[in-house]
Symmetry: C2
Subunit: 845 residues, 2 copies
């Protein structure tokens, strides 16, 4: 039924209201002062829009004002009264946009619109049309929901009155805490917030002042009000973002301390002292074939010192700290969610899933112009898809995903090739400045290229994931959202992290050794790491990705593009700014809202944060400043999102939700993966284990002296493969017989020259042992944290328990009454064998 | 209030009944034919017993018949009517047994008993006393719960009628499946089972015939009937045991196949062929100082071949299989539990926790004769314990636990010393038969000693855990149970597994090398493993522990001891068997039940199964037959427990429960630990990794030929420490210059003789890499299984959804009625601006 009337889609303009009409009468005299019907009495609760003249551009518009709940439950009730013949379909803008292909006759559409309106009236709603308006081609259907309809729907949603009793002492302590943290709280009076629902304009103003402003960045968010105005789903997003940002504060502080510890101890670090010491006259083997020549180890002094900032024993501690932090964060959020569920009366609420099969099928078939399939399907009334129907879509999805992940890897490999070839070219060049800045140039440009590719691919993948999910025709709207999120997550995650993973675990591992290098695509040698490990480069990449992604995505995508879109919309209307101003003055609220951008869902916001969470937890061992960067970003992000939601887009349709859904699972998965990734970063990417092994197994005096020498193997220059020896062997001013390279291999004069040495295997064993121990200890500790912190806050569970007792007391009092009645009956009845004394008075509790 | 009346403790003798009294009248003529009051009309629903003459032996008795639910909720209601001044305490036999110390005056006791009885009457219960009975010194208080009281309590428990609609096709498929598996189902008609509640004797008979009999071992259990008769908690135990046993079937089959694969390939195993080949004339270093001499490797032929049965590549596959099996089992159980919850209408049920602080405090103080503490506590009305009050108990608990785990390790170490010293002594002896049977003798006796110690310590630890938990005075009965279980679990687990863990991971690792052995307690050399690894010995230990523990515990503790106790009880009454028989004839049912053993809770049953689950999952890599042994044991165990519950002990008080509680967490924890333990068993205990490494890194022809030689290092006999060289160097008939030992060390003629060799480190690295890969892959696969199988079975969630829709439909119909009413009102009312047509008829769904 609805699937056929749904294309007259809808802008919803005002919130539900049960204020007595009289109380608003004073300030509602003309048509411009309040959203009422022409009679000036009945409030406009919803406005649906439809195009009158141009059926080919039908679009559903969601509005800045609006409360989805009512409409949704109205539909549900209606469908139920009608026997549930066809469930309401998913209202997807794109779906709606293309459904017009099925409208073959204008008459038919008119008929369906009438039927739709009749259905609304049948449910008890009152309607008023407004077609001769200032916006040409757009008709508005105003809807008023009378008091009794609202009551019935409230029953459905089980909006119950809270039955809360708070003990005196607790109350006093709470009061004290509240006073102490008063400056941190937004200026929202709780009682006012309670009633704010009935004055959407006023709460919008408060949100604008006390939330959507950078000047209040240090304050808590008025979550209650946000939920009242935007619904539970968006309320939960901001609550989650708040908890995450709050939890980032300790992480950022500890991270900064770890970094400062690195800075403070850089001068005491014996390995970098040894590298920088000019007395250690170590000649290194060339970094590329022919063009490069031998070099002195002391030129790597700067990198070695910089590496120490991030690669020191404190990093290990910080990794463990962050793994536990992630566990704590998950627990903390679970508790917060539970508390919000209780406060928002969602404890008994279960999400409904709406069947979208028919609707999505319509869309997909019309998209591919598969009219014959469609006709067959509807002739056979076959909207239930079998496995055979779905298999092609699943296979397409799987293969496209695999190909796309392959593309991501290919892109990473392309960047590697770029780096290798540019480096070789620069080495060849005769320009001395170019040659000195080789490393910096290559690293910088490569990281920027990576970043740009990531950002571009992100957008491509977003669209691709959506398309693939549509092809799958998921059964319900919830399943649609989950599938979409998983696909987007996999693609965007692979995109964001594959360069980082390459740097952390593969770079410099597949190099080969002097005389037996590994070559890719003809004659390109694989990249090596700088002397002090790849950690430094990993750091730079993380830093650029985090900062760049956040700056560009925040500024360009979240602020810039919406502004540009708005401008373009304005331009289209062919008016100069004065005209525009005048025109705006004549518009009613719902007509103004029509010009705001649509709300596109929370997924992009969550996705951005999840990728950031990944950066913060996965590679924190190599970049202890990540939490600090994330914190700074999020402080801005909250207010930015708030501004966007309050002023830039139409008020989203309020949706109920009990939890943040699949995002919680993704977070949980990430924090699990983080443990093993950090274990590998510490043991394989950093020099932590080789240092420890040297100190306790090989060092003659138990100190780090001699470590650098220990990590370098010997190479006899006569063993170079033909044509790979440096063209300028005398570059350093003397003839080189033996050069050194970073690896644990046998000496040229041993029985098995250049074989992996015993030290290599010993260190590898220690690295792996560290991984096993670290992973299991941290997992155990995380589980312990998980077990230690109860999921339901103590006060909430007590409160729920108390409410139950109140219920039982009520019940018992009723029983008491019944019993007394029964007893008096029994006294009169001859059938009862004996009577017992009604001995007790009703209890006083 | 109750804490003072609770010592008149209680045998509960009959189940709740709401059969109309008339229908039973025909067969209830005398006092012996049915449990009724003297009037022959009112049914006896409960019987409480109390001692009349000997107040010092007051004990609460739980009965063979009885339904705890009513009494519990009666108490709850009563306490609530009275203002909840003191919640009912935990009814613990030991607590009750010692509470008499507080009864200073007989009068006081009498008064309290009267008060208790008054309270019962006040709740609407009807009482009848029976003191002049056949059992001297015992009084019976019979209780009848009238229909209206039962109704009120049913309201509390929300016993709702199921609203189930089953689709035709599903019904037909179910019918087919049911017909096909008919012989496997017990002969319990569903309708009869439904009403069985009202005829406890009849259902008892059915349970006896169709469940508590070895002849029906292949049949499903009549879980519904078990739950009806024993309550949800025991029903869940048997359901869990059933699921576990069922799941063991595939595991046992695969395990047997893996073992058979080992048997089939034993002749093709190159390493054991090499060991057995007399041409490989390898001389091994002596196994003990002085007394032992050099020996030929080929004497280890038998052990090597036997080891192959358990140590072959199929074992790795089986470990992975069992990890996934454990995940599947947990999921399967979750679904089964969900289904039972739905069928048993427990979906909305929440367990209540009863505050036991006051009661336990009384007990602990009286136990230690701390009367002054008690008086202080009660004078200050301080039954809420602070952290400071609890700290000493917690510290005691912690230290005792640590000491006990230490004792367990000491015992293991003691057995090791026994083995070492006996071995040395036997080697010294001149008796040749003793010397040939040395290994078998030592292994056998040590394993038996271990077993005996485990069984004895098990009982000690059980009592100790109980005592420690009492000292802690947990807040609620649930917390008491959980703490007790955790403590018992830790102690019993350490007890059962420490010898196995020693064998798997420590034995043969801390041996040292020839010329530099590790000595413990003076001059005892640490034990070495047989040539083919310790896996064989681990196998034997597991086999003996599993078989022995199960046989002895099942037969002795579960069958033997209760029988002996019953005999002793009979003996005490000083009658010969004829007199006894005659006397029995005169007894009423509740008087007969008085002589049955008490029900001691499910914890011992669960604990036994959890330890077995540990054996099955933790060390399955070393003993693929474990699931088969477990399966055979459990098939007997189910019927044994059933027999015990039906005939040996008083009918347990029925308790409601939604899940198996903390046992689930323990199972989950075990299956997680199993992954890492199996990874270590495969990589460190078995020869799997060294073989692979040899084959792919060292073998000259890629085959296993030469592996045995590769694993043996060289020792120059001139390097023996003074006084440790064998006394009979010519034992083998020739002079030995170089002997071999199993280790990866440098040769005596290398630069660093006897140092760990490169091979050692390479193999260690590979072992650790295997652990990392195995653990993460298996964990990932387990999580995948977890994610793949939904927690709620599809049909149940559909059913719940359908019921919800039915509810909504009902609601809508009611609304319809209201609306019509409103509309007709509105038509008459002048205030309503306009009337709308009542256009639609009520929906037909």
């Amino acid at each position: 039924m609805y699937s056929r009337t749904m294309n007259h889609f809808v802008t919803i303009c005002s919130s539900m209201s049960r204020t007595p009409l009289n109380s608003l009468k004073s300030d509602e005299a003309g048509p411009k002062q309040g959203p009422t019907f022409q009679d000036g009495q009945r409030r406009v609760d919803y406005v649906l829009t439809y195009h009158i003249q141009k059926p080919q551009s039908f679009r559903r518009k969601t509005s800045h004002f609006g409360d989805y709940r009512i409409l949704r439950s109205l539909r549900r009730s209606l469908s139920m009264m009608r026997g549930r013949d066809t469930p309401p379909p998913k209202e997807d803008p794109e779906v709606a946009a293309h459904k017009h292909r099925l409208d073959y006759h204008e008459d038919d559409k008119r008929f369906r619109q009438t039927e739709f309106e009749d259905n609304l009236r049948e449910m008890g709603l009152e309607l008023e049309k407004d077609e001769g308006n200032k916006i040409p081609g757009i008709g508005f259907l105003k809807i008023h929901a009378p008091w009794n309809v609202l009551c019935r729907e409230a029953e459905f949603m089980k909006l119950k009155m809270p039955t809360k009793k708070v003990c005196d002492v607790v109350e006093r302590i709470n009061l004290f805490i509240r006073k102490a943290t008063a400056p941190l709280h937004p200026k929202v009076e709780p009682n006012r917030a309670q009633n704010m629902l009935f004055y959407p304009l006023l709460s919008c103003q408060i949100l604008y002042d006390e939330w959507a402003s950078y000047s209040v960045f240090y304050k808590y968010q008025p979550i209650g009000l946000i939920r009242k105005y935007f619904g539970e789903k968006i309320g939960l997003y901001f609550a989650w973002l708040g908890v995450y940002t709050q939890m980032l504060i300790p992480a950022a502080i500890v991270g900064a301390i770890v970094f400062l510890y690195g800075c403070a101890t850089v001068d005491n670090d014996i390995p970098s002292m040894e590298i920088c010491d000019p007395r250690n006259n170590i000649t290194m083997c060339p970094l590329c074939d022919r063009a490069c020549s031998y070099w002195k180890l002391k030129t790597a002094c700067g990198t070695a010192r910089a590496s120490h900032l991030f690669d020191n024993p404190a990093t290990v501690f910080f990794s463990i700290f962050m793994a536990l932090w992630a566990a704590m964060f998950m627990e903390h959020w679970k508790r917060r969610q539970m508390r919000l569920n209780y406060i928002w009366d969602l404890t008994g609420f279960e999400e409904e899933e709406i069947d979208t099969t028919a609707c999505l099928l319509l869309y997909v078939c019309s998209y591919f112009s598969l009219d014959y399939v469609l006709i067959t399907l509807f002739q056979e009334k076959k909207v239930k898809l079998t496995c055979t129907d779905r298999a092609p879509a699943y296979m397409t999805g799987l293969f496209t995903m695999l190909i796309m992940v392959g593309v991501t890897f290919a892109v990473v490999f392309g960047v590697i090739l770029y780096r290798i070839s540019i480096k070789a070219a620069l080495h060849m060049s005769s320009n001395p400045t170019a040659r000195t800045n080789i490393r910096a140039t290559v690293k910088g440009t490569a990281a920027v290229i990576n970043l740009v590719i990531i950002i571009i691919m992100d957008e491509v993948y977003g669209a691709l994931a959506r398309w693939l999910t549509l092809l799958e025709v998921p059964k319900t709207d919830k399943s649609f959202e989950e599938r979409l999120i998983i696909k987007t997550f996999v693609l965007k995650f692979a995109n964001a992290f594959s360069p980082i993973v390459y740097l952390a675990f593969f770079r410099g591992r597949m190099v080969g050794r002097p005389g037996d290098y590994v070559y890719v695509i003809g004659s390109y040698r694989m990249e090596e790491c700088a002397h002090a490990g790849c950690l430094m480069e990993l750091c730079i990449q993380l830093c650029i990705t985090m900062l760049g992604k956040q700056l560009i995505q925040n500024n360009l995508f979240e602020i810039g593009i919406p502004k540009i879109k708005k401008l373009i919309r304005r331009r289209k209307s062919d008016m100069d700014s004065q005209q525009q101003e005048d025109y705006n003055m004549t518009l009613q609220r719902h007509e103004k809202d029509h010009f705001l951008g649509p709300f596109v869902g929370l997924s992009p916001e969550y996705m951005e944060m999840i990728i950031q969470f990944g950066m913060v937890t996965l590679f924190v061992a190599s970049f202890p400043l990540a939490p600090l960067f994330a914190l700074l970003n999020n402080i801005i992000e909250i207010r930015l999102d708030a501004k966007k939601f309050v002023t830039e887009v139409r008020r989203p349709i309020a949706a109920r939700a009990k939890d943040i859904g699949i995002w919680y699972n993704l977070l949980r998965g990430l924090s699990k993966v983080a443990v093993i990734v950090n274990a590998f970063v510490i043991s394989f990417t950093s020099d932590f284990i080789p240092r420890l092994v040297y100190q306790y197994m090989y060092s003659p005096d138990g100190s780090m002296h001699g470590f650098v020498n220990h990590t370098l193997s010997y190479f006899n220059v006569s063993d170079f493969q033909p044509g790979t020896a440096p063209l300028q062997p005398m570059h350093l001013g003397y003839e080189v017989q033996i050069c050194r390279y970073k690896d644990y291999r046998e000496t040229p004069w041993s029985n098995t020259p250049y074989d992996l040495s015993k030290e290599f295997w010993a260190i590898l064993a220690c690295r792996l042992a560290f991984v096993v121990v670290f992973q299991n200890v941290v997992m155990l500790m995380s589980d312990f944290v998980d077990w230690l912190i109860p999921d339901i806050p103590k006060d909430i569970s007590l409160q729920i328990h108390k409410e139950k007792i109140l219920m039982v007391e009520l019940f018992m009092k009723e029983e008491e009454g019944k019993k007394l009645l029964r007893d008096s009956h029994a006294n009169q009845s001859p059938l009862q064998p004996r009577s017992r004394p009604a001995s007790h008075t009703p209890s006083n509790c």
